[in-house]
Structures are given as C-alpha cells and as structure tokens.
C-alpha cells in the first residue's frame, strides 16, 4: 500500500504531463524507515527520451547525499511511460536497485486520462500495490 499526500500525487501527474512525450522521473523522499513519502524532488531525465529515463549522475549524488544528511531515503521512485501502460517493463525490472522503494509508474499514453500505479520490485519480482491519495 502506498499512501501519498494529494499535493504530491497531483504534482507527479502534472510533471508527467508536462514532460510528455519524454519520460518524466523523480523521487519522493521521506524519513528513513518511516515509509512516509513527504518531499517531492523532480529529477531531470538525462536521457531526454520518450522510452528511457536516467537520473543525471551528478544530480543523483547530490540528492542521495542530501537525503543521507537529513536521515531520509527515497520512499518513492517514479517515472512515466508515454506510449505504453503503467506497468514496469523488463528494463524497469532489470534496473530497479532500490529494494525499499515504491516504484510509481504513470502512463500518459492516453491524452484523456492518466493511469497512476505503484509497485514493489524486489529481486526481479514485481508486485502491484494499491495507491491511496490522502488528505
């Protein structure tokens, strides 16, 4: 179960729409061990691609150091699929290396609506979980 404060949930969708047709990506940080996503950090997609995303390596280090210093961790790692469904691709699964994170996928393939889903990806196994937009 992923509980996301409404402003963050809405901001992720807005980010995905804004970057469409390129994939959008980012993190929601929260206190380490709390499983509470509290601080949204949009990241630049260094690949700038409609089918691939990658955090800029320098930006990623800055963010990871910031989280470490604030005793935070990446509670959510999100990205968008712009022409396919909101389900982790083989690539997403192969490259998921934060076993504690909720992997949020947003699909902007349909201009009329946005599909917002969340998954745990651990040791190559994908498990979808319900998402609650709170407050």
């Amino acid at each position: 179960m992923l509980r996301l404060p409404a402003p963050i949930y809405d901001a992720i969708i807005a980010h995905a729409r804004r970057d469409h047709p390129d994939e959008a990506c980012g993190v929601v940080a929260g206190p380490a061990g709390s499983d509470r996503p509290e601080r949204l950090v949009e990241m630049i997609n260094a690949a700038g691609s409609p089918t691939f995303y990658q955090f800029d390596s320098g930006e990623q280090l800055r963010l990871w150091k910031e989280m470490d210093a604030a005793d935070e961790e990446p509670v959510v790692i999100y990205h968008s699929h712009t022409a396919t469904e909101a389900y982790p691709s083989r690539t997403d699964i192969n490259l998921a290396q934060e076993p504690g994170a909720h992997y949020v996928l947003v699909s902007t393939a349909d201009p009329e609506s946005v599909d917002f889903r969340s998954y745990r990806i651990v040791d190559g196994v994908v498990t979808e979980e319900p998402v609650e937009r709170t407050g």
């Binding site: 390596s57 280090l61 790692i77 192969n94």
Partner: protein
C-alpha cells in the same frame, strides 16, 4: 592509497550490512580488487566481464563521476571519498538495448 567507500543499500549484502568500508588502491581498478578480497562477489556487481565499469553503476571520487576522470583508471589519494550508487534508470525501451547490471 587508503580511502573510504560508501556502499549503496543493494550491495550491503557483500559487506555484512556496512554502509561504508575502508579500501586501498592506487586507482579505482586496484581499489575494486582490494574490496573483492574482503567482500567476495562485490567486484562483479561493479565491473562487467569485459573489464569496464557497469553502465548502470555510478562511482564518484570526491563527488566527481569517474566517467569524467578516467573511469577505472581514476587515480586515488589518501583520504579520498569514494561513493557507489546504482544509477536510477528505466523506461519502456526494449531491454536488448539497455544492458542490465546483472
């Protein structure tokens, strides 16, 4: 050269849970050999079979991505801070064109 290496969550199974371990080496390649001697299996998560840095592993020496400083040939000095982070990446791209890290 004696350095401190920060280990990401996913690789802490090789360090008995330690977030940071000491290491030695004149350059990054030598450091990884040194780490392998105490943390067996770690090196293969960082270096591919053809001897280069894994595409989706980021290594930084004093906050500089080593891809800009000579990759595995990056030289090390006493007291350097080495950080390893798995690159956050993915997307709907066909996996045959995006090599996984393992």
């Amino acid at each position: 050269m004696a350095v401190e290496v920060k280990i990401p969550t996913i690789l802490r199974t090789y360090t008995d849970g330690a977030k940071s371990v000491p290491g030695e080496g004149a350059n990054l390649a030598a450091l990884f050999e040194d780490l392998e001697s105490r943390h067996a299996g770690l090196r293969s998560r960082l270096i591919t079979e053809d001897g280069s840095l894994h595409r989706f592993v980021n290594v930084y020496v004093n906050d500089e991505d080593v891809r800009f400083t000579g990759s595995l040939d990056t030289t090390l000095s006493d007291g350097d801070a080495v950080t390893i982070l798995p690159a956050v990446a993915g997307g709907s791209l066909d996996p045959r064109r995006a090599a996984p890290t393992r």
